[in-house]
Symmetry: C2
């Protein structure tokens, strides 16, 4: 399993993903599920993937130009005229990979599925975030739905719904994503740190702050522990119901 | 969909379930999913059900003695020597109903499935809570796992994990269950009030406080609204990460 978030605020875009992959609980590895490409001053793209690791890696290799007689990595990707056309291109390649595996005499094609969050900005276009389905079609974030989640989405959704604010700073946004991840990690063994994050500042056309948060990262430990206490004290602050017996 | 919780604290047992059933989003009804039986001074039993409504209603009718040439409702149920034997009896009847539907030439027998939370106390035994699977087997709550959830369990689990305390009072337990329901209701349209609750005080051998919390219940509105604010202020109280650019 996987957990990934892509969100759009007034200041720009934020992405976070975990790094655990598993084929059964006895076969666990760490793999990067976040991929970025950039040409300074022109375009910046981030992709998060949840699903079949082979499909994801095929897609990233193909986007990087392997298998297509291309030499420069990500040239196709970085030279699209708009984010919409980029999403179309990626969706088409994703669908193609899944189909080619399924055509090979394999019946359960759903097991080759990968779902993507793709976001960034191309000169002349707004910053945008898309969710691209295995079928190749996609949807975009909106004011009513300012973030996308992929993978194990449910545990971490309530805090996102409650605390998201389009005006929040990058550090608040990062904190919110960490808390959403923390709720998920507490509940599901198949989502685990280290966590990769990537920030993109609107109209900067260059990669923003990014990094990897390890399980023993002091800030992550402080947030995780502090959140338990804060939730408990928020819980205590709620009024009690007077229970009438029978 | 459905959401139900059964939990065991040092003081006794608490149960809560929603009342929404749906066959597609355009066919929504309100049905009670919580059932109680009691003989004062002898045994008290509560069952929550999530799954196929026809299976649930068959089971409850059979447990009430219909279709078995029995006349007194719930006699079999209330006269078991222990909670373990009661769980065995209910599991067997549940499996029987699902099998008899599947045998009828229907292939997708998973669509007849119902999962139960069953708890209570029988004179001479401890208060116990079981989760009974459609296959008829079951597991019991333990110190490490003091509550069971059925139905749409994920959205409401993080707060249960964080705030559950075996020493909590009934009114704290009820508040916790309401908050867990509120997180779920905010995220999933197919879980909705009114919410039924039932409390059983350890060694009382009589039904405890119970009732139905409507969507416009003042306490529920206050908790739901207050929790949003409390979460936001807990979120603000968490320290911010200093983001180093690049």
């Amino acid at each position: 399993m996987t957990y990934g978030i892509g969100m759009k605020t007034d200041s720009g875009l934020l992405f976070m993903s975990d790094t655990r992959t598993n084929a059964g609980v006895d076969n666990i590895s760490t793999f990067k599920k976040m991929f970025t490409w950039a040409i300074d001053g022109q375009s910046v793209i981030t992709i998060l993937a949840a699903g079949n690791l082979a499909t994801t890696q095929s897609l990233i290799s193909i986007l990087n130009g392997f298998g297509d007689n291309q030499v420069a990595p990500g040239v196709d990707l970085l030279n699209q005229p708009s984010m919409f056309e980029l999403a179309q291109l990626i969706g088409k390649k994703l669908r193609g990979i899944i189909q080619s595996n399924s055509d090979n005499g394999q019946t359960a094609n759903s097991s080759f599925h990968t779902t993507l969050i793709m976001g960034g900005q191309i000169k002349g276009d707004e910053p945008r975030v898309f969710m691209i389905y295995p079928e190749g079609n996609f949807i975009e974030v909106s004011i009513d739905n300012p973030f996308f989640q992929i993978g194990e989405t449910k545990y971490g959704k309530p805090i996102l719904i409650r605390a998201f604010d389009p005006k929040m700073s990058f550090s608040d946004g990062l904190k919110l994503m960490l808390l959403s991840f923390d709720s998920t990690i507490e509940a599901n063994l198949s989502v685990a740190p280290p966590l990769d994050f990537q920030i993109y500042e609107k109209d900067s056309f260059t990669l923003g702050a990014n990094g990897r948060i390890e399980a023993d990262d002091p800030y992550y430990r402080k947030i995780s522990k502090g959140w338990s206490l804060a939730l408990k004290s928020a819980f205590q602050s709620m009024p009690n119901l007077i229970i009438k017996n029978k």
